[in-house]
Symmetry: C2
Subunit: 276 residues, 2 copies
């Protein structure tokens, strides 16, 4: 499921770090693919989920009822493939890689979804933990999975989201080991970003969330935890994909994990004290 | 339009201040009516707007696109008159007074809407400035309209909300004169409550918002402004009623201005640093 297809991999280097968002989108539109962590640093990356208009109310209500895993930054009009968050962008072509779902099953992972697009699709752009990782880094909090060159580990929990119409599913969390001397900053800085998951849902014993073994995440990579590190759990943008799997809408398009949509917004503008 | 009907007025005194929310709801259900400012202090009061299910998606999207005037704290399932925010409450009877709207026109102001209720109504509970006034008071910021025993003054602006489907309308703001030495606290404390309008949309010259004369508010009462006070403008929960007037949905029920729904939630739990 996490295989990378036939396009050249994106190796994020100092160059991609300094790209402007429109430049990154142009390259993805031309076929570049791969994880977007670190691309166009300081600009807001978002999760994408597009569903038929008939499912849009359930999806929007599901987000409203579960704001920690599902912070909505924009919703398009039905059929539109543009967004106020990215000037000139085309949501059908400008992500590095997509996932196409039918009846809750993954059926394709193309780099362009024009052939799958429907005029009744409503697209939801949902906040991503990359934004609070930016804030944690600015505050001097070490990010273990970045130090170790891995994807963040993610886990299904035994906490069900509050359902909305036909949509239901478990909350998915990401975990970052935080040294005790940085715990206050990690909680404070992420809490100041309620538009991108906000503060953690739990710190410490993973069994409280029904997680058995931190060494075997459900998504992403395991990460080494230093002896004094405290595991800190944040609500995760993979939660919508878990709801698609659980609720089986007839059709959906999402981004591929880690291959996000680059907006023109800046991470800093979602800090609560400077929100627009 | 702001007349008070045939029921005894609620005089908020030390007793009402100390009521528990369920006690207040029981009294309103029994017929007590009047402004709720100060009732059950420290508990969260909310705006109500109920629309037919056919309009619910437009309403929820209008809120998502305009989070400052329209922070949604709960949305009910169609036809339900209960909410997770208030145990045992009935949204049809437990507000002091309602407004009933047909085609954008105010047609009744009853104290009970059971006779008007429809099984397809979806109710939106929307954050109210009473919550951030609590935070300002805790921080020592004087609230001029409370000192002067008046309703807060509210103004239509020349800023249009971002439209959603059939819903459109101007942003309405409330104005509080703030002494310069309290300005930082007023901005900081309200910004920490993004679930209840958040930080101000403007400080200073009212003409920037298209407001001509602070002495003639569109809703509420004029308030005396001390010589050094700075007028500070926050997005206002009357914005949905302005959208009803502008967009003319066939049917809607709202609370009467200043006569809010008392939830069991506590104002403090909406502070971003301690949000659930």
């Amino acid at each position: 499921m996490n295989r990378i297809g036939d396009r050249p991999l994106l190796h994020v280097d100092a160059h991609a770090h300094a790209w402007r968002p429109a430049e990154a989108r142009t390259r993805f539109r031309a076929g570049l693919t791969g994880p977007t962590a670190g691309v166009a640093a300081g600009h807001t990356q978002v999760n994408l989920i597009s569903v038929p208009a008939d499912w849009a109310y359930d999806m929007l209500l599901f987000c409203q009822r579960n704001p920690k895993p599902r912070p909505v930054l924009d919703v398009t009009d039905a059929g539109s493939h543009t967004t106020v968050l990215a000037d000139g962008a085309d949501l059908r072509t400008d992500l590095p890689r997509y996932r196409v779902w039918r009846d809750g099953e993954l059926v394709a992972e193309p780099t362009d979804v024009r052939a799958h697009w429907r005029d009744d699709l409503v697209s939801f752009l949902i906040g991503c933990s990359f934004t609070f990782e930016w804030a944690l880094t600015e505050a001097g909090v070490p990010i273990r999975h970045i130090e170790q060159g891995r994807n963040v580990p993610m886990y299904m929990t035994d906490r069900q989201c509050r359902s909305a119409g036909r949509l239901h599913g478990p909350m998915v969390v990401s975990m970052r080991p935080v040294p005790p001397e940085h715990l206050a900053a990690a909680i404070r800085e992420s809490s100041l970003l309620p538009a991108v998951h906000g503060g953690p849902v739990h710190c410490g014993d993973p069994s409280v969330l029904g997680i058995g073994d931190l060494g075997h995440p459900d998504f992403g990579d395991p990460v080494e935890i230093a002896p004094d590190d405290i595991p800190v759990f944040w609500a995760c943008g993979v939660t919508p994909q878990a709801a698609v799997t659980a609720s089986r809408p007839p059709f959906a398009i999402t981004h591929a994990p880690g291959q996000m949509f680059l907006t023109d917004a800046r991470d800093a503008q979602y800090r609560v004290l400077s929100a627009a």
